[in-house]
Symmetry: C2
Subunit: 396 residues, 2 copies
Amino acid sequence: MRLLNHIGRLYTGTRLGVVENAVLAIEGDRIAWAGPAEPGPPQEVRTRIEEEDSCGGALVTPGFIDAHTHPVYAGDRMAEIAQRSAGESYENIAGAGGGIGATVAATRQEPARELRELVAGRLSAWLRDGTTTIEAKTGYHLEREGELDAVGILTELGLDPSLPRVESTFLGAHAVPPGGVADTFIDEVVEWCGPAAAAGARFCDVFCDEGYFSVPQSRKVLAAGKRAGLIPRIHADELAHSGGSLLAAELGAQSADHLLYADEDDARALAEAGVVATLAPGTALAMGRMPPVHTFLDAGVTLALGTDHNPGTCGATSMSLVVALAVAAFGLSVDEALAAVTVGGARSLGLKDRGTVEAGKLADLVVWDAEHEGAFAWSYGLAPLEVMLGGRVTAR
Amino acid sequence: MRLLNHIGRLYTGTRLGVVENAVLAIEGDRIAWAGPAEPGPPQEVRTRIEEEDSCGGALVTPGFIDAHTHPVYAGDRMAEIAQRSAGESYENIAGAGGGIGATVAATRQEPARELRELVAGRLSAWLRDGTTTIEAKTGYHLEREGELDAVGILTELGLDPSLPRVESTFLGAHAVPPGGVADTFIDEVVEWCGPAAAAGARFCDVFCDEGYFSVPQSRKVLAAGKRAGLIPRIHADELAHSGGSLLAAELGAQSADHLLYADEDDARALAEAGVVATLAPGTALAMGRMPPVHTFLDAGVTLALGTDHNPGTCGATSMSLVVALAVAAFGLSVDEALAAVTVGGARSLGLKDRGTVEAGKLADLVVWDAEHEGAFAWSYGLAPLEVMLGGRVTAR
C-alpha cells in the first residue's frame, strides 16, 4: 500500500468537500483511505503502508472526466475554421466540399491502422492534461463498416494502460451521409446498433436538431440502441429548441448534451428523469449562446462538462481549460465546475467507481501545479504535476 | 545570413497577407527578406546565405505582442478567486483583507530580489507561449520606492536576452493605496512620473473608472507623465461608461484599454485621435460583458489584445489562447485577431520595428505547431515549435 502525503488541499467530491492537509492511501488500483493527515488513516490501514510519496503541498483532485468528445477522425479543417471566423456560412463551406462532409471523406479514406494512431495520439493529450476518463463518439464514417471499426478502435485503445479510460459511444446518426436520405439512413443506423454493442460500444447517441435528425428519427435510433443494450445519450436543443431534451427525459437517457436552447420545462423534465446535462463551454462560446446553466442547477439537474473536441470547431483536450471557461462563460463557481468534471462526469457516463476521492474508488488522481482550486479559474489551463490512473503514474 | 525555408504559410501582417510556401532570410537580429520560395530572394540576398533551416511546412508568424499585463506582484489570491466565482462580492473580499489590497501587502513585503525572480519566471512563460514583446505595468506597490523599484525590475529584465522584450508602464495610479485619499495620492503619483521615466518607464497608465480615479484625476497624472516624457495609456470605460476613452483621445494616448462600456462616440474619438483599443477577452469574459469590437473596427480603430495577466483574475500567459478567445467571445476573424496580436500590438506600444514579417524588422518569429492559422481558433492555446528573438532560437 502506498500513501500520498502532504496534499495541501484534497478535492474529494464527497460530503467531506475539500480536505486541507490530507493524505490518501492507495492499494492496487483503488483508493484505500482518504482524509485529514491528522489523525490520519486508522491503524489497520497504517500498518499496511509500504511506501510514502509527498505531494509537496499541492492540490489533488480525482482525474477529470471529459463527458463529450469526437476524437475518431482524420483530416484537418483549419482553413475552413479561419473562413467561418471571417463570416463565411457553414452552408457555403459545406457546399464547397468542406464541413463535416470533408471530415467524413478524409476519415473513410484513412486506413484503420493510421486512424487508430491518430486517435491514440489525441487520447494521450487528454491524459497529459489531467483527464483520466473520456467519453468518445464515432460518427465520421456514417457507413456500417467504418462506424463499427471506429467503435473497435475506441474499445481497443480503452484497454491501453498508457491512455485514459474510454467509454465509447456509437454515433452513427451524427449527420446524413453525403448523398443519403435521412429516413433511409436512420433505418440503416437502427440495424447497426446490435453490431456496435457487440464491438464494445456502451452508449448510443444521435444529433437531434434542425438540419440533422428529427425527434421521431432520433427516438427510433435510441430505442433500437436500447434494445441492443446501448444506453441513450443525445445531442439536444443545440441549434434550435427542437425537442431533444424532452426526448432524453422520455427515454431515460443518461445524458442530454449542449442544450443551448433548452428552457425551464426542459430543465424540469431532465431533473425528474435523472438525465445529466452535459455542457461544452467551448462550443457555446463558438455558437455565441450560453445554455441556461442556472436554470438547470435550480431545477436540480446534474451538470457534466466536455471539451466537445471535434475537427470542425474545437481542438481542446484540456478539461482544466474547460473548467476556466465554464466559470468565465457559464458563471459556474469553481466548486460547481469541479463537481461537473468529476462527480458529474461520472454520472453522465453512469460510472459508480470514479469521480470522487474515497475508499473503494479507482485511484485515478491528479496532482495539480497549484495549492488551491481557485487556480483553475485563474490559469486558463492549469497543468498537472502528475496524473495517476489506477494508482500508476502515467504522465508527469 | 540564415534562411528559414519550407514555411508552409507565412503570416506577414503586410500587404502580402499570408504567403504560402515561403522563405525568410535573417541577418543579425533583423529580417533581410521574406516572400514566396519561388522565385525566392534576389541574387544579392541569396549569395549571402550561409545556413538553411527547414520549418517543415509549418505556419510562421511574427512573435506575438501582449499589450496589457500586470506581472509585478507577489502572493496568491486563488482562494479569493474561488470565493468570487461562488458569488462573494469584491467589496466583501476586499473588506476582509483580500482584493488588490492583499496583493499590495504581499508585493510590498517581497524583497526586490525575490520579486525580480517571480517576474522573470512569469516572463519566461510568455516567451515559451510565443510572445516576444510584452507591455508590463507596475501598480502593486502604490508607494514611491516600490513603484520605482518595479520599473527598475522591468527595465532590467527587458535587457535579459532569455526573456521577451519588455515595454514598461508606470501605473502608480492603479488604485488608492490602503488608508490613502485619492486626491492626495494623485498629487504624489504626479511627483513620481519623472523618476519613473528616469528608471526606464516608457508609458504612464491610470485606472480611470468608477471606484478608482476620476477623469480629472486621471488627466492630472497622464499630463504629468507626458511632461516627464511618458507616453499615456489608460484603463478606460471598463467598469462603467466613465469617460476614459474621451480622455485618451483628448490626450492623444497611445492606447485605451478594456473599453467594455465604450460606445460609438468613443469609437469615433479613438479613431480620430489614433488611439489603439487594447482589449482583453479573458477579462471581458470574467466581467460578463464584451467590448463593442465591431463598432471599433467599423470606426477604423486599430485593435490590440492582451492577456491582462494579473494576480486577481487571470493567470494566462498564452496569446495564442487569447487569439482563440477573441475569435470565440469577440467574434473577430482569425485574421483580425492575428493582426491585433502582431501589427496592432506594435501600434499599441508605438513600436515600428516589429509586428510584421518584412525586411528590416526584428527577427522575432514563431514557428507554430500547425500548418494553417485557423488552428489558433481551433486549438485554444496553440503551442509554438520554436520561438525566435532577434533571430536567436530561445524556446522550443
